[in-house]
């Protein structure tokens, strides 16, 4: 397939452009969180370099000890454990958002890096494309 596509186009499609997904909503009241995770996994399956960011109510998606089945919602949070299979290892959480919500640094996924507001923002700025959910 790459033969049919000119080089300059394939260059744009390869993974030297980085994608960030910024999550800002809590997990259960809407499908946003699940859609964001699906997007990340799709990018991952194409080996696109991708980072996940959690800020504001988005931090509620990654805290530990959640039980979606108790409120009869399909537990998409379990899918987060698939991120490792797709080499999605850059996962950032905003420390101020945690503090604001009085949340401990207890997460249901490993690999999470908790960053200060400024570091979080700087890391986000380093990406070429940003999708906000």
């Amino acid at each position: 397939m790459s033969e049919a596509i000119p080089n300059n186009i394939t260059d744009n499609m390869t993974s030297n452009r980085t994608v960030a997904i910024l999550n800002t909503e809590a997990p259960f009241s809407s499908a946003t969180g699940k859609e964001s995770l699906d997007t990340a996994l799709i990018f991952g399956s194409y080996e696109q370099a991708i980072s996940l960011f959690f800020i504001g109510d988005g931090v509620f998606q990654v805290i530990g000890d959640q039980n979606a089945t108790e409120i009869e919602i399909k537990d998409y949070l379990k899918t987060f454990s698939a991120l490792g299979f797709y080499d999605i290892e850059n996962i950032y959480v905003c420390r101020e958002s945690l503090t604001e919500r009085n949340l401990p640094e207890n997460f249901h996924i490993s690999n999470i890096q908790v960053l200060s507001n400024k570091d979080f923002s700087q890391r986000l700025h380093q990406h070429n494309v940003i999708f906000r959910f």
């Binding site: 800020i55 923002s121 990406h127 940003i130």
Partner: protein
């Protein structure tokens, strides 16, 4: 890297404006579009501009006038949808806060 923050909702109804301002770094610009134009006199935005006078804040004039919104401080720059394309290319990346 300079980022263009596109705000498309009212800061009086949700906290995306505050969230956006939290992520603001020097060299970034803000563009108010659609319901984002309701923020033309928002205290948080005015305060952010006072703190960083070089911060450029644009708004789509057509969207603001349609909503009877005037930037009373006159420190924000009116622009058009066509010029947004140029604006986008003047920045390294963009983020849409809707």
């Amino acid at each position: 890297m300079a980022m263009l923050h596109i705000i498309r909702s009212s800061g009086y109804n949700n906290n995306v404006l505050a969230q956006c301002l939290n992520m603001l770094l020097p060299n970034d610009s803000i563009l108010l579009m659609d319901d984002g134009c309701y923020n033309v006199n928002h205290k948080l935005l005015l305060k952010a501009q006072l703190a960083a006078p070089e911060l450029k804040i644009y708004f789509i004039e057509q969207h603001a006038t349609a909503r009877a919104q005037k930037n009373t401080a006159q420190t924000f720059s009116p622009t058009t949808l066509t010029d947004v394309v140029t604006l986008l290319f003047q920045h390294d990346n963009s983020i849409t806060w809707s």
